[in-house]
């Protein structure tokens, strides 16, 4: 019973820490983008703008209120799903971003659904075939791919499969407005592949190391000695203990996708939030930057949080230590 309470207390503390982190991030993002530049209205309209229109925009942006009011107003808007208007598109951010969130989410889910099982399989297979030619070749190839920046991997794929070499796949996504990303599955192949190639080396390496460590441990030896069949040893004794670090890495990689989409979407002109963030930075569309950074930071923080909780729940050793 006390065991359960320990786990619950851990989850509660971790949850609190996650909320606190997001709160601090929101403070930083808000003050960095809104308070520091001397006059956002001037920045938006340019230096030559006349005083009347600048003053009008200042009022519209709520800049004549105190910083505290501006911040709470902004935060309330984000939390209640009304983040205000985009400067540049001159329409509510959600209208402008809504479809893009769906597109990015689809890309992220597709990349995760492919990369996670693939790395689990590859990692445990390499662990079982440890130090064979297969393992050495795969490990070294993974090391090389892991060193490459996403846009380099992407350009190589475009050169190989879209523009030169084999002309099988489109080099840019052509998702129809309001049609959903699934309307262009051919265009999804290369963006997904870049994210998968970015994630698999890391996850599979951790899976391999974790699996090797577990397979060499005393309790696996014990399970084998007492005569448990190898399949039971692997499934019941090895896998649960090997999964702990793997959850961490899976979360890290979903978190990595949250940053990777910025480059990948720019590379393939994919209409998602990563591309939108880049465009917003270009034209200094402050409300959009603030909103997108908060969205991406939330994905990042929540996945890390989920990983920590899942690690404790799934790892027998940690669960019993939590008392």
């Amino acid at each position: 019973m006390s065991n359960n309470r320990g786990v619950l207390r851990f989850i509660a503390r971790r949850l609190l820490l996650g909320v606190l982190t997001l709160f601090i991030v929101s403070l930083v993002v808000f003050s960095a983008t809104q308070l520091l530049p001397s006059d956002p209205a001037q920045a938006i309209l340019g230096r030559d703008a006349n005083a009347v229109s600048t003053a009008a925009l200042r009022t519209k942006l709520g800049l004549d209120h105190t910083a505290f009011y501006q911040y709470t107003h902004w935060l309330k808007g984000i939390v209640t799903g009304d983040p205000g208007d985009s400067f540049n598109a001159r329409q509510p951010i959600l209208d402008y971003i809504g479809d893009r969130v769906v597109n990015s989410l689809f890309l992220l889910v597709l990349a995760s659904v492919i990369s996670i099982p693939l790395s689990l399989w590859l990692g445990s297979y390499c662990a079982r075939k440890r130090d064979t030619t297969f393992d050495t070749v795969v490990s070294n190839a993974m090391l090389a791919v892991a060193s490459l920046p996403e846009f380099v991997v992407g350009i190589v794929l475009i050169l190989l499969f879209a523009v030169r070499g084999f002309k099988w796949l489109p080099a840019v996504s052509t998702i129809g407005i309001g049609r959903g990303p699934w309307s262009d599955m051919q265009g999804m192949v290369l963006p997904t592949a870049v994210l998968v190639l970015g994630a698999v080396p890391y996850i599979s390496r951790v899976v391999r190391a974790s699996m090797i460590e577990v397979l060499e441990s005393d309790y696996i030896e014990m399970a084998r000695l007492k005569g448990a069949p190898e399949s039971v040893v692997l499934r019941r004794h090895a896998l649960p203990n090997a999964l702990g670090p793997v959850f961490q890495v899976i979360a890290l990689n979903i978190a990595y996708f949250a940053a990777g989409v910025i480059i990948v979407e720019a590379l393939f002109n994919y209409p998602g939030i990563g591309g939108a963030l880049r465009d917003a930075v270009r034209v200094r569309d402050i409300p959009v930057i603030q909103f997108l950074v908060m969205v991406l930071a939330t994905v990042y923080v929540v996945t890390n949080l989920a990983a920590d909780v899942a690690t404790v729940l799934v790892t027998p050793r940690l669960r019993t230590r939590m008392q």
């Binding site: 960095a32 892991a146 490459l148 920046p149 380099v152 190589v156 910025i262 480059i263 200094r284 990042y300």
Partner: protein
């Protein structure tokens, strides 16, 4: 390696003796591995190319040689690899474009290394409150991906090289601080630290002479990993189109500019891609060699 095991005469050691008796360098072990050597050769060649390539460039950095995206033989002036997006010579732009990325990445990593090591060592040595506060601050910085931090700064102040280096460096600090703290925590408990304390050594000397040499293996590995990432990150920011001088040659920017001309003349993309790929794979190989060497040394330490 045998010098690792303390002899009985070291029972009451003088701090100076330990400074002279560091474990055999991770670097020395790593250099004997083929992967480190290949990595070093690749990195050496690319660094030479990035720093001195400009002196063998056939044209000026901003000199036009013909119409945009013309393949070799179709430019007004003779070229090896045709023209780039605004009619510059691809080969010249390539020879000029490595330096900004290389210098920025190295400076950012050095900055992160100095600050991250200092914070990590202080946190490990002091423990308690200070440790908690420092590490929570590090956690908050880690809550935002590095590229997003860079974009926030760029949206505030524009794409200045100094600020990009500063942002990449500072956002790398917590990553290094965590590794250093993790490696140093167990070192703090060792007898020679207590010995140095009882001799009245200053805090700074204990951090520098007792702790630092004992985390150097982990530190080297992490530093190398961070250099690889910083190269990717800084060239990625340039790829997104954010550079201080949009007219200057830069491998990352070059890839972005010449993407539209992949079909008529792919060299403007291919050369920088090959260079960045080789550079990051080279630093990755060196890092892997260092990691293997560090792991080997740790194992010997554990056994003795």
């Amino acid at each position: 390696m045998t010098t690792l095991a303390p002899t009985p005469t070291d029972a009451v050691p003088e701090a100076a003796e330990f400074v002279g008796r560091r474990p055999p360098g991770v670097i020395r072990v790593a250099v004997h591995m083929w992967r480190t050597r290949i990595g070093l050769i690749i990195v050496g060649l690319l660094v030479a190319l990035a720093l001195f390539g400009r002196y063998i460039a056939p044209y000026g950095e901003r000199e036009a040689v013909g119409l945009p995206f013309k393949p070799r033989g179709q430019t007004r002036k003779p070229t090896w690899f045709g023209s780039a997006n605004v009619g510059h010579d691809v080969w010249t732009r390539f020879l000029y474009g490595g330096k900004p990325i290389l210098i920025s990445a190295v400076l950012a990593t050095l900055l992160a290394l100095v600050l991250g090591t200092t914070i990590g060592l202080i946190a490990a040595y002091n423990r308690g409150r200070l440790d908690d506060v420092l590490m929570r601050i590090m956690d908050v910085i880690l809550a935002l991906p590095q590229i997003i931090m860079a974009l926030i700064v760029i949206s505030m102040f524009g794409a200045s090289t100094k600020l990009i280096v500063l942002t990449v460096g500072l956002s790398t600090v917590p990553r290094i601080a965590r590794v250093v703290r993790g490696a140093a925590v167990s070192v703090v408990e060792r007898d020679f630290v207590a010995a140095a304390e009882s001799l009245g050594e200053s805090r700074f000397r204990i951090l520098r002479s007792e702790l630092l040499p004992n985390v150097s293996g982990a530190l080297l590995v992490e530093a190398n990993l961070r250099l690889t990432f910083s190269i990717g990150l800084i060239s990625g920011i340039a790829f997104l189109g954010f550079t201080a001088d949009p007219g200057a040659a830069n491998w990352g920017l070059m890839i972005n500019e010449n993407r539209k001309g992949l079909a008529p003349n792919h060299w403007g993309v291919t050369w920088p891609v090959i260079a960045i790929a080789l550079l990051t794979i080279g630093t990755g190989l060196v890092g892997d060699g260092l990691a293997r060497a560090a792991a080997g040394i740790d194992r010997v330490k554990g056994e003795s």
